[in-house]
């Protein structure tokens, strides 16, 4: 376990780039949003939501991908095994998602308590994913981190293991598979059934359960692919 924690430090030691920047960028996005919405007089209620929060998820996912493409070769060079490195990486990403989820929930409460920073802004209380249950809200914030990060980690592992061609081939294969699937669904006229299925899903399954399942599959795929990867 100590070894895993020592390796996990590889993802946090340069915390300014690895942790602070995603929050910094989101903070700037928040500040800009506050300025913009404060200067719009006729901002009608319900129209003051923004997608600024997505910047945190995107930058965090980029950091996760870089943690494979750059930190993994370094870790191998330091005599760390692939298994230990990947375990530490999963640990860091899961803990990070939960901690970020809690922080976003606190910011959500602050935003609610201050009447949307005094201007009715909905930056953290994004429509539809703003749920009433505190614990569920934390998970609703946390799971998209796992979803995006592990998909990016999986792609980065493919890049490290199979090179640029391998990554493009996997991307092309994914487009082909999902494209054919879409064509099949259209041909068979299944879209209505799918929308119906989605709309009858419980909020928790749709926002937490299914994305978490896909994240777990991506994480397992990454584990399988990294076992034979060389720096």
């Amino acid at each position: 376990m100590k070894r895993i924690l020592d390796v996990a430090r590889m993802h946090t030691v340069a915390w300014v780039a690895q942790i602070a920047w995603p929050w910094g960028i989101m903070g700037i996005s928040l500040a800009v949003n506050i300025l913009i919405f404060a200067s719009i007089d006729e901002a009608s209620p319900g129209k003051t939501s923004t997608g600024g929060l997505s910047s945190l998820y995107i930058v965090t996912a980029i950091v996760a991908a870089v943690s494979i493409s750059q930190v993994f070769p370094f870790a191998l060079g330091m005599g760390v095994t692939r298994r230990t490195f990947y375990t530490a990486t999963v640990l860091v990403n899961v803990v990070q998602a939960l901690v970020y989820g809690v922080l976003l929930y606190l910011l959500n409460l602050i935003e609610g308590g201050t009447g949307g920073f005094g201007i009715g802004l909905h930056f953290f209380r994004v429509p539809y994913i703003d749920v009433s249950n505190g614990l569920l809200q934390i998970l609703v914030y946390a799971v998209p981190f796992l979803f995006l990060n592990f998909l990016c980690i999986f792609a980065a592992v493919l890049l490290v293991r199979f090179g640029t061609n391998g990554l493009y081939a996997a991307g092309a294969a994914a487009i082909l598979v999902f494209g054919l699937l879409g064509a099949l669904i259209t041909w068979q006229g299944w879209w209505g059934d799918i929308w119906h299925w989605l709309s009858t899903q419980h909020q928790a399954s749709l926002l937490v359960g299914w994305p978490a399942l896909i994240a777990a599959l991506a994480a397992i795929g990454g584990m399988a692919a990294i076992r034979k990867a060389n720096a």
């Binding site: 070894r3 020592d6 390796v7 430090r9 590889m10 030691v13 340069a14 300014v16 780039a17 690895q18 870089v66 943690s67 750059q70 930190v71 070769p73 370094f74 191998l76 060079g77 330091m78 005599g79 760390v80 095994t81 692939r82 298994r83 230990t84 076992r227 034979k228 060389n230 720096a231």
Partner: protein
């Protein structure tokens, strides 16, 4: 005690054979020179031993165990390579801090003194270091890790002569106090000739030499003298190289040269001179090429 044992080790990349049926052992507390031309298979061999790649066939044991994905065995190894990549977010002090946790025998005081000796800027981004400074960082990790098995793969690319001397001095001094197995892979053979106790020479994937450097020094000689007598003297020995200038000739010979042989050479008017390790390696490698 045997630290590394390889038997019939072979590594192929597609139709390229990087290592071809290589067998040898590395013993405890000795300094090895892993020599050979570019593309001879040196780095591949070190990657296999350090579990960074897997062999196509053959047996390999590191501290008696399989190296691949073997945490216990690998934590006693440090592999400093010229091509080591560092994450762009890291500063020098981050790398040192991580290394201090990852290597169980790490000596931080020693590391800090090396950082000072090499004038490494602790707060600079690793990616912004010059070629020489990146090498100095690698050398610092390799020495301060004090791993029972230490690999240096062309560790001093871009390092100036003073820094290289510093490296040799620190390596020898620390080796005397904390003996371990060191493998030096380098093209600057003459510079490390005095350090190396045992030579492993790779040529196009094959291990062509596995011998104590003392023996090699007595084994490969330059003989200069009149061409006819030289031919007679050379019979029964391996001729690695031949140069002729008028009636005089110089041949590089490989074989045993005992006192009687030396006396005989003197009587024939032949001048026998041991060649440098670098010359021996060059001759041995070139001879294989023309053969």
């Amino acid at each position: 005690m045997t630290v590394v044992a390889a038997a019939g080790l072979t590594k192929r990349y597609g139709d390229v054979t990087a290592l071809d049926d290589v067998s040898f052992t590395l013993e405890k507390n000795a300094i090895y020179g892993l020599l050979g031309r570019n593309g001879a298979g040196k780095t591949t061999l070190m990657q296999l031993i350090t579990g960074q790649n897997s062999a196509t066939s053959g047996e390999l044991r590191l501290f008696g165990e399989h190296p691949y994905e073997n945490e216990r065995a690998l934590s006693h190894v440090v592999f400093v390579k010229e091509s080591q990549k560092y994450p762009s977010a890291y500063k020098v002090r981050h790398v040192l801090s991580l290394a201090s946790h990852l290597f169980p025998h790490w000596d931080d005081e020693f590391a800090q003194s090396l950082v000072d000796d090499f004038n490494l800027p602790r707060k600079r981004d690793v990616r912004k270091l010059s070629r020489g400074m990146t090498s100095a960082l690698g050398v610092t990790i390799g020495l301060a890790a004090r791993a029972p098995l230490t690999f240096f793969d062309e560790p001093y690319l871009g390092l100036d002569a003073v820094s290289r001397q510093l490296f040799y001095d620190r390596l020898l001094a620390d080796y005397a106090e904390h003996p371990r197995t060191v493998v030096l892979s380098t093209h600057l053979i003459d510079e490390v000739a005095d350090l190396i106790e045992h030579v492993l020479l790779l040529d196009r994937g094959k291990l062509v030499l596995d011998t104590p450097s003392e023996d090699l020094r007595g084994e490969v000689m330059d003989a200069t003298g009149p061409a006819e007598v030289l031919d007679e003297f050379a019979t029964g020995r391996e001729v690695l190289h031949r140069e002729r200038l008028g009636g005089m000739a110089r041949v590089t010979l490989r074989g045993s040269f005992d006192n009687a042989e030396r006396a005989r050479a003197k009587k024939l008017g032949i001048d026998l001179e041991p060649v440098s390790l670098q010359q021996a390696v060059v001759r041995l490698t070139m001879e294989r090429k023309t053969a």
